[in-house]
């Protein structure tokens, strides 16, 4: 991959270190009698400036992996890193700061605080940190996402697609090391999905943004640079430069 533009991140992470990685990550739920191993020793790396899709059937552990790597959930054992920061060593305040300053999130639904306008939602991480928002970057993002005329609206006055795009803007506004997207198009129609995915793709290509997206949609995964396949809490396969067909084929193979 060639750099078409200087990456916006000025973070301390040297290019040789992946944006995030997991080492032998294990997560179990339940008590002794009925232990569910949601993650069964996952080791995986997510390269910087890359758009990675994580796929797998329900219960494969893809969401759990994301939660553990993003510091939302604590693994039973193993390590997870954002850049060179092992997140298991962080206390709640450290995790909060990590999420606020170095990670962006887009979820399937309920991305926005209902009482705040779109603009306020987008600048929320900066407001929480008490830092200034890069106005130019803000204007660029909302322009690219086509929500410039929606900024003063509350979430309940916006369509699902608009809400997701506002969430996208919020995830990117702080130029995080990594954006975690958890089924970001799960609730969207195909047009909105395509716009959203195209935007994510562009942000990787043009701004060198690192993105990890959990999805079960082959068309969505095809926008990624690399697809990691999970099954039963383990990485079972991966695919570089995926297409819809290659992803579908791979899934079929894993499913059988």
């Amino acid at each position: 991959m060639t750099l078409t533009q200087q990456p916006p991140t000025e973070g301390p992470v040297p290019p040789t270190i992946p944006a995030a990685r997991a080492v032998d990550l294990v997560k179990t739920y339940g008590s002794d009698d009925a232990v569910v191993r949601a993650l069964d020793g996952v080791t995986v790396e997510f390269a910087r400036g890359q758009f990675t899709a994580v796929m797998g059937p329900s219960g494969s552990g893809k969401s759990t992996l994301m939660h553990c790597m993003a510091g939302l959930d604590t693994p039973t054992s193993g390590q997870a890193f954002i850049g060179d920061q092992e997140i298991g060593q962080l206390d709640d305040a450290g995790l909060t700061q990590l999420r606020r300053d170095r990670i962006g999130f887009v979820f399937q639904s309920f991305n926005l605080v209902p009482t705040l306008t779109a603009a306020e939602n987008i600048t929320l991480p900066a407001d929480l940190a008490g830092t200034k928002v890069d106005r130019e970057w803000f204007d660029y993002l909302v322009g690219q996402l086509g929500i410039a005329d929606r900024l003063s609206h509350r979430p309940n006055e916006m369509s699902g697609g608009q809400q997701q795009r506002a969430a996208c803007a919020r995830a990117l506004i702080g130029r995080p090391d990594l954006v975690f997207a958890d089924e970001p198009t799960g609730n969207l129609d195909s047009n909105s999905s395509a716009e959203m995915l195209a935007f994510l793709r562009r942000s990787v290509s043009e701004f060198h943004q690192s993105i990890v997206m959990v999805t079960h949609d082959a068309r969505g995964a095809a926008y990624a640079d690399r697809v990691v396949f999970l099954a039963d809490g383990n990485v079972v396969d991966e695919l570089l430069s995926p297409t819809v067909d290659s992803v579908l084929e791979q899934m079929k193979r894993l499913g059988s």
Binding site: T96, L116, E120
Partner: protein, 844 residues
């Protein structure tokens, strides 16, 4: 984060308003009380300052007792009027005139005595020197002859008396008729805080007020330019022992001081109820914040995900409470001023015309109101804020199932410990007795029980809901299920009502016991057939000639006159009762434990009741040092010990002894023995005493009833003050139900979609409300009954001899709580029934 908080506040205005009402009402109560008492304080200070501004010195008897805790100012011995002339002769003295004060009560044109509702009926001498007199003549002129009187403007206006009218006045001696020479005001006020004033010229006053040859005090004016300190020393040098000279300022300060003492008692009593309201309000706020934090779980978790720290989340909840507290307190402060005006008008309506003055809005009132209002709100929100902090970020995700494993064992332990500490504090406080400990104990008990209530909420809701389910069918059953769904919420919602009803029940038990004790104490204290006392709440006395008049009534075979006074026993001021020693057994029941009754009294011995004997370690034959205002220090021998008697109190002497040691005391009661009370004897007694319209003539049964009525009147007042707390608790229920309806929009829509009628939706919400109310009410009544029993039992020595649990009243409270629960549900129920089915189903 501030933005999130502010937006959140704006988005939930209704919820906030409902929650804030609790604080608004409590703060209104507090600030109203403070504004009113500050205003009264300032007005009286100004008033007394005006009255005494020209008086340079006052010569008066020294305070008789070192212990002046009794209130109403020190007891002073009258001084001989010969002192006036010796003071006048001193160089530097421009003017000196004696003053006399005592009992004088007007008789209205309809023949009824003018009563004041508690304030004294004052007779006094009129000082013609306007510089010295506290009275200002507003029409006519001051009294100058023995048959003239000046009347206060308050009485004159109320009963339409004019200058030149004749008016009968009840005095310590037989009643007399006077001509009104003038109408006077007390300073600028129509009367002195409701007291009536009858002013006579000095020598008439000395005569009719029972102090011939004596004065209460001498007011002195110095000559311009005189060295006041020197004049004061000169006056002091001429005075006999036991007489002192003080500055006018000192007198004004003392007068203000004793008024303030009364005011502070009044304001403390009101503030106690204000704090009760706020305490109940605190429960409501705690509950509302708990529910809203619960409802905002996903939102708060999302904030945590995008980078809000725990501290920020905690602060956002507290800031929300802070803002609410500030706004509510400010509103309450404003309403408090209005409430003060209203209270003042109310007092005026009762005939207590207060001197008029501008409302005093002290900065302390603002500080106290804000501090308490904001404090209660923020402290109540701390628990919910801590819960908000514990919400994990993952809770924002759709598939997150919250761990409901709230450790109920921890709750039980902590709740039990707090409740037990409360019980211990209460018991200690009652036995001490220390009223603050009792209060702390009660608060701890309520908090502890509030924590324990969730444990029993589910089974109790189920039980209470059973008949409702039967009555209303499916809606009733759903209401019951809803109330069982979240035991914690059910318990929290009803805990405010629990506190309110607990207090009401406490008062009910206490009051019923007091009332019963009052009845039986009359039975055990008085054998007379008629009790003659002063009308007007039994305050003050009446003419000493009543007993003689009563004795002349045909059919009256025995009379006993009862006096009350104060004396010092072993240097502590206490009440003393005196009773005629003749025919004692015909009128009073005196059961002796030791020594003799009547003979000991006749011999000038002291009788004490058995409680006093025990606590003071006294026995028959003990000699105690005593001090009387008029006659000074001496000793008395205990002649007998009697069983506690409500009429007689702790210390009793014979009337002969009493009259020898007190200056013209007024009787407080005359007991008549007629050998039974028939309509004819009642008629005869009333006929014989028509000259004294200020008397209340009651048969023993009527006397009992009036004692009970007094208790009931007091209870009524307390209930009225507690009603505010119950109201706040009900607003809490309305609030919770509204939140529940909002929370269950989707569910209600579903029920409507599958065919539930609007009426049934309403029935469902109402059932839930009734269960919530009854749950709180039942716990409250049980706790309150226990507290009431504890209070009543602890006061056994103080005369609450009978313990009565008024089951009827308690059942009425429960029914009332259910009805109020129904009422509280009406708005939320209507709101739920009006939900648009489609929109409700679409709601997430």
């Amino acid at each position: 984060m501030w933005k999130v908080t502010r937006k959140g506040l704006l988005a939930h205005k209704l919820r906030l308003a409902l929650t804030a009402v609790a604080i608004v009402l409590g703060v209104t109560f507090i600030s109203g009380t403070l504004v009113l008492t500050d205003t009264l304080h300032a007005t009286f200070t100004t008033l007394f300052g005006h009255i005494y501004q020209n008086v340079d010195f006052e010569v008066r008897g020294k305070a008789a007792f070192t212990d002046n805790s009794g209130g109403g100012g020190a007891v002073r011995k009258p001084i001989p009027d010969s002192i006036v002339s010796s003071v006048r002769r001193l160089p530097g003295v421009a003017y000196a005139e004696g003053t006399v004060g005592g009992y004088a009560q007007f008789v209205a044109p309809d023949g009824q005595a003018v009563t004041t509702g508690g304030a004294p009926t004052i007779g006094l001498s009129f000082d013609p020197n306007p510089q010295l007199s506290s009275l200002r003549v507003s029409s006519g002129h001051g009294p100058t002859t023995p048959n003239q009187v000046a009347m206060d403007a308050g009485t004159a206006n109320k009963y339409h008396f004019h200058v030149g009218n004749r008016v009968r006045i009840l005095l310590i001696g037989p009643p007399q008729t006077f001509t009104i020479s003038g109408i006077v005001t007390f300073g600028t006020a129509d009367n002195l805080a409701g007291a009536t004033l009858a002013a006579f010229d000095l020598s008439t006053a000395q005569h009719v007020l029972g102090q011939p040859g004596h004065l209460s005090a001498i007011d002195v004016l110095t000559q311009p330019g005189a060295d006041k300190a020197q004049v004061q020393r000169a006056i002091a040098a001429t005075l006999p022992p036991g007489v002192e000279v003080v500055t006018g300022q000192t007198v004004a300060d003392e007068a203000t001081g004793s008024i303030n003492q009364a005011l502070s008692f009044f304001s403390t009593a009101l503030l106690v109820f204000a704090f009760i309201s706020l305490f109940v309000g605190g429960f409501t706020i705690f509950n509302t914040f708990s529910i809203t934090v619960g409802q905002r779980t996903r939102e708060l978790a999302l904030l945590r995900i995008v980078g809000a720290s725990r501290r920020q989340v905690f602060r956002s909840v507290l800031v929300e409470a802070l803002i609410m507290g500030v706004v509510a307190s400010l509103v309450g402060l404003g309403l408090g001023v209005l409430a003060a005006l209203g209270l003042e008008a109310l007092l005026k309506g009762f005939g207590i015309t207060l001197p008029t003055g501008p409302l005093v809005f002290a900065s302390r009132t603002v500080i106290a109101a804000l501090l308490v209002g904001v404090g209660v709100t923020v402290v109540s929100a701390i628990g919910p804020a801590r819960r908000a902090v514990r919400i994990p970020p993952v809770a924002a995700l759709a598939d997150y199932r919250g761990e409901q494993a709230e450790s109920s064992r921890r709750r039980i332990v902590i709740g039990s410990v707090i409740a037990l500490i409360g019980v211990a504090a209460l018991v200690l406080g009652l036995t001490r007795p220390a009223i603050q400990l009792v209060g702390i104990g009660a608060v701890a008990i309520f908090l502890g029980i509030g924590m324990l209530a969730p444990v029993v909420a589910r089974p109790m809701s189920s039980l209470i809901g059973r008949p409702l389910a039967r009555l209303f069918g499916i809606p009733g059953r759903l209401g019951r299920e809803n109330s069982m769904r979240s035991p914690r919420r059910t318990a929290q919602t009803s805990s405010a009502l629990m506190v309110g009803l607990a207090l009401v029940s406490t008062i009910a038990v206490f009051g019923a016991s007091l009332s019963k004790s009052a009845t039986s104490s009359v039975d055990n204290a008085v054998s007379a057939d008629y009790i003659v006392s002063a009308s007007g709440n039994g305050v003050g006395g009446f003419s000493a000639s009543v007993a003689d008049a009563a004795a002349k009534v045909p059919g009256v075979s025995a009379t006993s006159t009862v006096y009350n006074g104060e004396f010092e026993v072993r240097r502590s001021l206490t009440n003393l009762t005196a009773i005629s020693t003749d025919h004692l057994s015909d009128t009073v029941i005196l059961r002796m434990d030791a020594g003799s009754g009547g003979p000991a009294l006749a011999a000038g011995r002291l009788l004490i009741d058995s409680n006093t004997a025990t606590t003071k370690h006294l026995a028959v034959g003990s000699v105690v040092p005593v001090k009387f205002a008029q006659t000074g220090t001496s000793t008395m021998r205990v002649g007998g010990i009697f069983k506690p008697n409500a009429l007689l109190g702790s210390y009793v002497v014979g009337d002969g002894f009493f009259l020898a040691h007190f200056n013209r005391p007024l009787p407080v009661a005359v007991l008549l023995h007629t050998g039974g009370s028939t309509a004819a004897t009642t008629h005869a007694v009333k006929d014989g005493l028509t000259a004294y319209p200020n008397l209340k003539i009651q048969t023993r049964a009527e006397f009992q009833k009036s004692q009970q009525a007094q208790v009931n009147q007091l209870l009524g007042l307390v209930y009225a003050l507690l009603a505010l707390a119950v109201l706040i608790a009900l607003i809490g229920i309305v609030n919770t139900l509204m939140l529940s309806v909002f929370e269950r929009t989707h569910e209600i829509g579903l029920l409507r979609a599958v065919g539930m009628k609007r009426r049934q939706v309403r029935a469902m919400i109402r059932s839930e409300s009734v269960i919530l109310s009854l749950f709180g009410a039942i716990i409250g009544v049980v706790v309150g009954t226990a507290l009431g029993v504890a209070f009543a039992s602890s006061l056994k020595q103080q005369g609450i001899t009978d313990l009565v649990i008024p089951f009827g009243s308690l059942v009425v409270f429960l029914v009332l709580a259910a009805v109020l629960g129904l009422a509280a549900a009406s708005w939320p129920a209507r709101r739920a029934a009006k939900l648009d089915v489609l929109a409700a189903i679409a709601a997430e």
